[in-house]
Symmetry: C2
Subunit: 191 residues, 2 copies
């Protein structure tokens, strides 16, 4: 099984690194699980200025079990980037496809949210509506089948939990999330 | 004002990157606020395998307003590393000094937790007791004056909130934390 995190220039730091850490914890239950950060260029710089080398190109999305689009101001360039969009041939019937905050704009640009509702960060609501998507502005997580959108950085916990449960079941989801909970709040060690 | 995040080989990814993102959000309120990731070597590799170039060396801790020690298996090497420990001349009277999970072991090795209670990740409780520290095993955040310890990755939200409030007051703390809350849970935009 394989999860791919899509990054790009000016990605929101926590929206790449929190899912990255959570997904890697699945490896305590399945050592063969692969987590990769990919993007349109060999390196991408975060909003806060970290330079992150990519593990590979966006074409890796096409064969991943989980495809996750992070967020950040850079999504606005990508939704106009025909070359980037054309590299993505995703299949919502066979892949779990999800996004954080303004990452939903990429899902919309790919036509994946057609006829669906979704959620996004307040600053991206109008742009997402511009794609004809019904935005559920008060929900931090909206899922339809294999497609999930979440909003507000810490909603990544529920989004990744949802994606992990779809792939590995409820027990692995609980183990992974419990390992990051604050001590005294159901926190449990998986390593 | 300046915050320094201490990283090292085999750091827990989220324990560096979540505080990094939260502290950088203070910059929406104070553009002069500086956030730096430092470590004993020019680059450090996370537990999950990300290679992260440092912004500077650990001596930057000695003049920072907030000094934060991240966590991970690598803390066990650092607490035996006399060269590393000797570089740190911290002043709890004039600096906010804090740690996540096993980062508390470094505070203990520096003598900063002498006569104090603290919290840490379950896997580090016995080692922390070995330094004579009273471990509050069910608390996710323990603070004494300018010294704070937190445990369970997501406790970083309360730990950073505590540190930001000490430096910038309650309103900036609320603004920063609200900007990462899941939509519908008091989430607010600060940019």
């Amino acid at each position: 099984m394989k999860a791919v995190i899509v990054a790009f220039d000016r990605f929101t730091d926590v929206d790449v690194f929190l899912p990255w850490d959570l997904l890697n914890r699945v490896r305590f239950r399945d050592k063969e699980f692969s987590v990769r950060i990919v993007g349109p260029s060999p390196k991408h710089r975060s909003v806060c200025g970290l330079e992150l080398p990519m593990h590979g190109g966006v074409e890796e999305c096409n064969h991943a079990d989980i495809v996750y689009f992070s967020s950040g101001p850079g999504t606005r360039d990508l939704i106009k980037d025909e070359h980037f969009l054309k590299q993505l041939r995703l299949d919502p019937n066979n892949q779990i496809i999800c996004s954080m905050c303004s990452g939903a704009l990429i899902l919309a640009a790919l036509g994946i949210l057609e006829g669906m509702s979704a959620t996004t960060y307040p600053t991206a609501i109008e742009e997402l509506r511009g794609f004809g998507v019904e935005v559920e502005t008060t929900k931090h997580l909206v899922t339809h089948g294999n497609i999930g959108t979440a909003a507000g950085c810490l909603a990544a916990i529920d989004l990744m939990g949802w994606a992990i449960e779809k792939l590995y079941g409820q027990v692995v989801r609980q183990d992974v999330i419990a390992s990051v909970l604050p001590v005294g709040q159901g926190q449990a060690c998986i390593y």
